[in-house]
């Protein structure tokens, strides 16, 4: 039976779960007033981008995939979050 503790996949899970809880606290406390808050938005969107990339890279095993798949999925993450942040700041 492969051990869960110390397993690299578990470490990725712990990291991603920790930053999920961090972004939850940021939104709950920093964003409690439900006013426009560029700091909260920037933090939670960047955390989401990192989490998406980590899941794609490690859980989906793209880190071992051919270059075309690495490039396509990374371009999706970078392109999507660049557009999301661009539209957010353009709409302020």
């Amino acid at each position: 039976m492969t051990s869960l503790i110390g397993n690299p996949l578990t470490i990725v899970w712990a990291l991603v779960t920790t930053v999920t809880l961090a972004s939850w606290l940021v939104a709950r406390d920093g964003g409690a007033s439900h006013q426009i808050n560029t700091t909260v938005t920037l933090v939670v969107l960047l955390i989401a981008a990192v989490k998406a990339q980590l899941v794609i890279w490690h859980f989906m095993e793209v880190r071992r995939a051919p270059l075309w798949l690495k490039a396509t999925t990374s371009a999706w993450v970078v392109g999507l979050f660049a557009l999301l942040l661009g539209f957010y700041f353009a709409g302020l």
């Binding site: 996949l9 470490i11 779960t17 972004s23 940021v26 938005t41 071992r64």
Partner: protein, 203 residues
Amino acid sequence: MTDVTEDFTTGVGNSRPDADTRGHVPGDSSMWFFVVGDLIIFGVYFVVYMYFRGQNHELFLHSQARLSLDVGAVNTVMLLSSSLFVALGTVAARAGNSAEALRRFWTALAFGAAFPLLKMFEWIPEISAGLTPGTNLFFMFYYVMTGMHLCHVALGLVIMCFVIRNLKTSQPPKISFVETGATYWHMVDVLWLVLFALLYLMR
């Protein structure tokens, strides 16, 4: 990032050489075309959502305040945990350990099945409070995007049941099928991570 995670796909203690999986497309290539296509379609929805949000910040911010941030966060952890066990199960199946793979996939199925249950606890009070897709533009996006995602979750759970059946009945199990199911499930997880940030977290 690569050094500390050298044995991610082979798993700790597995005998398969690391180099064997390098340059390998996990699962069926046609599933990847579907996954990339789905990521692009959802990506368009996400960008359109952000555009309309920029037209009326007040409406979106006040509507967001009606959502249950806590349930959203717990559901995120459920999907992440489910994805972890799918990844561990895939590694075990590849190493030829079907019994361990089965245990991992059953655990993944349990975490995954919690997602739609929690979603019902979220949706039913909201709909009872009069928050429907017709309430305003935010709730239209909210129900359409989370509804489409929930359909993906439901399909993913069905696929996971087939993976479990494959692990039980095929000796040796078809690794390509295990990887294909895993790829689909992780995509469902990735889409939720973005939805959670857009609908619940950002301000």
